[in-house]
Subunit: 344 residues, 2 copies
């Protein structure tokens, strides 16, 4: 394979001049530039990317850690992030963590001298005790998700509390009072579950309704459809009356709708259902699902922008770095068939 030296010899110039031509250095005579270009074409030369990376210390690759691409929310998020990264000439190395703490710890163990310049990380299983790991990683990190861990790290997140509260209000406004919450996770795992629950309970509280623990559907491993169906079944089996469901994501909601319909309950007549995430599925479920759009594209764009900005900064002491950013994406209610029309 041809190297830059071969091109230089062929064009009768120095290696550095070839380098200058290829990297767009302006002070090169037009005739020289053309001669070099011709030699590049003649030899079919392609620059050795690994040498460039090695020398410059920058690979132009950013890592992305999400739990699982098979989950539409994360698959769609990954598409958005990949697109945003590509617009800026960055490539993306994806590391699914499989919803496990070990997987997430492994994702953080990116070597500093490695081929990843920075990381966009969507944690789902780390616990509070792991927070200190995020502070001095030695490379730029942008967290997707609530600022639960460390205030010294950039966060891009959605309005989990507001969204869940709005979802719950939608059902309350329609006169529903027996509203199940599907997707509860045990407290030691960090993430959106607790926040969405907070939004749910705040909405109830605001109307003077107490949370009925029989209405809480637990989905311990992950927010898959299967767990939504299971959790819904558990709530119904408890014998409590249900006329509304707030599911903590769309997959859970679709699983819950499956279980409700399997038991002969009509949506939205008997039970209104609201999801969270606005994944593509929610537009084609039967019935179509009312959901909260958490601003996925905005999150992807902002996360990539913040990371890019961090990559420009000197990597040395934290003194030279800008202060950490906390960005809240916009949220939107998407009303579809699974909820009753709003009263009034």
């Amino acid at each position: 394979m041809a190297t830059m030296a071969d091109v230089a010899r062929h064009a009768g110039v120095s290696v550095k001049t070839v380098s200058n031509v290829l990297s767009g250095y302006p002070h090169v005579r037009e005739t020289t530039r053309e001669r070099v270009r011709a030699s590049v074409d003649a030899l079919g030369y392609e620059i050795n990317v690994t040498a460039k990376i090695f020398r410059s210390g920058r690979s132009g690759v950013v890592g992305l850690s999400v739990p699982e691409l098979g989950q539409p929310y994360f698959g769609e998020l990954a598409d958005e992030i990949l697109a945003a990264a590509r617009r800026h000439g960055l490539q993306v190395l994806i590391e699914p963590t499989g919803f496990t703490r070990d997987g997430e710890l492994a994702a953080l163990r990116v070597p500093r001298g490695g081929l990843v310049d920075g990381l966009i990380f969507s944690p789902a299983a780390l616990v509070q005790a792991d927070a200190h790991l995020l502070d001095e990683l030695g490379y730029p990190l942008v967290l997707l998700g609530e600022q639960m861990f460390s205030s010294s790290v950039d966060h891009v997140t959605m309005r989990n509390i507001d969204g869940a509260q709005a979802a719950t209000d939608l059902l309350l406004d329609a006169g529903r009072r027996q509203i199940a919450a599907i997707g509860m996770l045990h407290a030691e795992t960090a993430g959106s579950a607790w926040l969405r629950y907070t939004g749910y309970s705040k909405a109830l509280e605001a109307r003077g309704i107490e949370v009925d623990t029989r209405l809480l559907g637990w989905a311990d491993d992950a927010w898959h459809r299967a767990n939504g169906a299971r959790a819904m079944a558990a709530v119904l089996d408890s014998g409590v009356r249900v006329d509304g469901v707030v599911a903590f994501n769309d997959a859970l909601a679709i699983g819950a709708m499956y279980e409700l319909q399997a038991r002969g309950l009509a949506i939205p007549q008997d039970v209104g259902v609201v999801g969270f995430d606005d994944i593509e599925d929610s537009r084609y479920s039967v019935p179509t699902l009312t959901t909260i759009d958490p601003g996925r594209r905005e999150i992807a764009n902002v996360a990539v922008d913040i990371l890019r900005r961090r990559l420009q900064e000197p990597q040395g002491s934290s003194a030279e770095r800008g202060s950490p950013v906390l960005y809240l994406a916009g949220m939107r209610i998407v009303e579809r068939e699974s909820t009753p029309r709003r009263a009034g």
Copy 2:
């Protein structure tokens, strides 16, 4: 950041000895080995991956090009491939092509000296005229999908024809005769559409039924739910009677089921529906979807294995390389609620 030279100085040995310890070279005295290890720990040394890559010419990164991760089939496939790659210490750089020819051509333009050692590529928009591009890329390529392009490239594929034929037979066995095919694509784009259509028409032919073009539902951009609903609507609007649907993937099937149910048709009583891919959605749609499991995990594992084998081979002339592999993954019918019980 500490370099290998720092460690060598600290441990009182040569740089190469440190290198030898870290790379597991056996002829190092145990005491030396321990001293080096201690120095590594003391200095918090981490090997510079980019230097290693540069020197060795191997990055341990393989590319993966799929149309879109937001589509559950590709998201789930990507998860499987990432898992298989990780088991062998490989990392994966994903490049979604957005179902466009330009996107796919861009994905193939991986520089030889680049940071990707090889590529797993799932084409969906390339046309026959592009076939020659695949022949002499200069790096190992494994194609997911039918051997439509080039016989000189490794292929891992599913039984598209057999699967679609089995899906159609399932409905024919139940006495259905007016079976729509949802997901037709125009011929110049390569891919599974044509093969699945072939399976569909073969099944009909075997019973002496002629293909009724009014039963063909066209989905031109991509196999999304939205297109499934649209194609189904177009077929129904043509006025033709429909008592079965073979959709070329599950997303199309779910979109089609949505449209059928919106028009008051019962599944499977009025219309039986079969999908293709066995994505997780199909287990939780209403009704649950009968589908063809194309052996996704097997495909992922085999693709990674073949690519690994190619990476071991000398990269020189094609004479030294093994002959191209064509691997057909196993296929399985997954019967759920959307099809009538088989007669007999």
